[in-house]
Amino acid sequence: MAQHVIVVAGGLSHERQISLESGHRVARELSQAGFEVTLSDIQPSLLDLIDKLDRPVIFPMLHGGAGEDGAVHEVFELIGVPYVGTTAVACRASYDKALAIPVVARAGLTVPKRVILPHDMFRDLGAPTLMRLIEDRLGLPLFVKPSASGSALGASRVDRIEDLPTALVNAYSYGRVAVVEEFIEGTEIAVPVFDLGDGPIAFPPVEIRPASGVYDFEARYTAGATTYVCPAALDYDSVAACQAAAVEAHKSLRLRDLSRADIIVRDGQPVFIESSVAPGMTETSLVPLSLATADESLADALATLVRRAAVR
């Protein structure tokens, strides 16, 4: 009898739509690989479904919020159902950028100078003073984003200090903590990491060239709005350095099964931006493209992850 897989997608997050698209893609790929697949939202009937099926494996495809902060993983561990992906504890640590960035920096990766603050700090201590301190510390331009959101939602580049308040308000629309970092000029790339049984390995880096110059939500999810180059048009050493950085981030953050590292290459050297524990799998997502370039079947890779999870 075929192994049951429950792909969990949707949820109550700002990235619900993207999660649903990713979930449909993963479900389709796993069906093709011969699994008995059910797609489920985060809802009460999910627990009944897990209970009803014979040793199902969960494949979480939730983006943002409870899908990446370890909350649903905690529930899966509570039930004792095997799942693909990073453990609850590691999710929690990697999701909190204030904790995660120092970890990868200690592992030797270059990271942007950054400040991570909840909005009440600005209210309680005075926004003008704090913003001045940020400018003194990080200079201009800056990049501002929510600490707990992906898909470039609430993210913006700040070239003039007078635009920082609006950028912060935008970021705080998606959560109570914002990241303000020095803007890294360079080649934007993404590196998928899969552990298919022999330890984490990096797949070819995908270089991102948005037609508008900004890799925002529109550029990410409108087919044709961005040109992707895979492997990135970098020299061999830079590509190798990016792949090594992605694997190092995966290991140092104790991520499991799969992740995607977002990196900017400046003067040939990778600057680590962040790792995602639930990389997108939509039509315009980077992980499927990277695997296809490497002649690796996405269905096979996902199937391997499921089989490994089933025996954990």
């Binding site: 308000v169 797949f203 529109e218 180059v229 315009t284 690796e296």
Partner: protein, 443 residues
């Protein structure tokens, strides 16, 4: 490490360079993506405009459709006339008589919802770059159609009585002075989507007089006219003039939208063009749906059903009005619709409803940002709130959550000096269930 020698350069979609230029605006949108969250049961959605048809006599409709198939299956499941079936066009005349329109079935074309009627009118009249005048704000679906035909939309200001005649005159003169042609004025005079504004009868008379003087065609879109909540149905603009008006009607709000049946009533020469356009677009409007609606109109007390809908929507509108009074912070203003589905809420200077959408979702309430209803990027301080679908209790709760969202936003913006700091103080002390203060209800 895994690095293939062959480099791939892709834009994912191999047809990117083949698409028509009119599709350039069809892009992913972060705000639109948030609507996926609005469908979650935890979220009170004040965003959509979905009619609430739970009270329809589904057993009656089901029986009559089954009977229809048994009696006339081969006919109703075949192709039909491009103009629409004669029987339903006669019945449409009866429906329009409620708004004082006297018309011949020969002057009606049935369409796939009034949305398709608007599409046919636009494709018949508009070349790329032509100007369409439209109320500000205006129906997002109409703006989408106009954009698809590459029209240049010029907005005409409204006040609480509807389109301002002098603004209509000024816009027409300005467009013509620039050497361009106004193809038509698009208006939803009854409970405008999104503002809820009802055009007064006096304004309708002024508008039609001006249309005759300026020789401008009016496209009167009237999906909500029979859903007047506090007054009887108003005389349509078309009832005052048959030569300068194309009237669009729909069964989507008074019966059910899933049948996709609407219509256009047009001057005879225009109608001939619309029928030809319909032939090339769809061959004929859905025959099965036309017969189903025809049967409903023949066998059921549809006027009584509309009265039930009006009671149901009135209760929901009142819940929203109560909620807004109780929960909105100082500085927010809103319209008082006398019918239809929508309230237009406007925030003080410095707010951006697009950006506010994300925070609202965090508070589990959804609305439609005002910019969706303008072709020129305006409307960022406003939002459309729909009261048509959720229960009255959910609507009231939705306004409470929206109030929380706004107060949080005000505090945040005040922190960064992006709104008047007095607003934050007023917001902290205003709203809440005990409030009896009536805010300004200006448009």
């Amino acid at each position: 490490m895994n690095v293939p020698e062959k480099r791939v350069e892709t834009r994912i979609d191999p047809y990117v360079d083949a698409y028509a230029s009119r599709t350039k605006g069809l892009k992913a949108s972060a705000v639109r993506a948030l609507f996926a969250v609005a469908n979650r049961p935890e979220v009170v959605s004040l965003a959509g405009g979905m009619p609430n048809i739970a009270d329809l006599p589904l057993d009656v409709v089901g029986d009559s459709i089954a009977d229809l198939i048994r009696r006339r299956g081969p006919q109703i499941m075949n192709y039909g006339s491009a103009q629409g079936e004669e029987r339903i066009r006669e019945q449409i005349c009866e429906v329009m008589r409620l708004e004082q329109i006297e018309a011949s079935p020969d002057d009606i074309i049935v369409s796939c919802g009034s949305q398709q009627a608007l599409d046919l009118v636009t494709r018949t009249f508009v070349d790329p770059g032509d100007v369409i005048l439209a109320e500000a704000p205006s129906y997002v679906g109409a703006l989408g159609t106009f954009a698809a035909y590459q029209a240049n939309v010029v907005h005409v200001a409204m006040d609480e009585d509807g389109i301002i005649p002098e603004a209509f005159r000024a816009a027409t003169i300005a467009v013509r002075a620039a050497g361009r042609q106004v193809k038509f004025l698009y208006t939803i005079p009854n409970f405008n989507n999104p503002s809820g504004i009802l055009m007064t009868i006096e304004r309708r008379r002024q508008l039609i007089a001006l249309a005759e003087e300026l020789d401008v065609l009016i496209v009167e879109d009237n999906p909500y006219g029979l859903l007047a909540l506090d007054l009887p149905p108003q005389p349509a603009i078309r009832s005052m003039d048959s030569e300068h008006v194309i009237y669009l009607g729909s069964f989507s709000k008074t019966f059910a939208p899933g049948f996709r049946v609407g219509w256009a009533l047009a001057p005879p020469a225009v109608l001939k063009k619309l029928v030809l356009a319909q032939e090339s677009a769809t061959l004929c409007p859905p025959v099965f749906s036309q017969f189903a609606i025809s049967e409903y109109l023949s066998t059921w007390d549809w006027k009584g059903q509309i009265d039930k809908f009006r009671s149901m929507y009135r209760e929901r509108r009142d819940a929203m009005m109560r909620g807004l009074i109780d929960h909105m912070p100082a500085g927010a203003t809103w319209t008082h619709p006398k019918g239809g589905f929508f309230v237009w809420l406007t925030l003080p200077e410095g707010f951006d409803s697009d950006k506010l959408s994300a925070r609202a979702i965090t508070h589990r309430v959804a609305f439609t940002p005002g910019t969706a209803f303008y072709a020129d990027g305006l409307g960022s301080r406003s939002m459309r709130l729909s009261y048509c679908f959720p229960t009255p209790e959910r609507i009231y709760e939705g306004t409470r959550r929206l109030g929380e969202t706004l107060r949080e936003e005000i505090e945040l913006r005040a922190t960064f000096g992006l709104v008047d700091p007095h607003l934050a103080i007023e917001a902290a002390s205003s709203g809440g269930p005990a409030s009896t203060t009536l805010p300004n209800h200006d448009f």
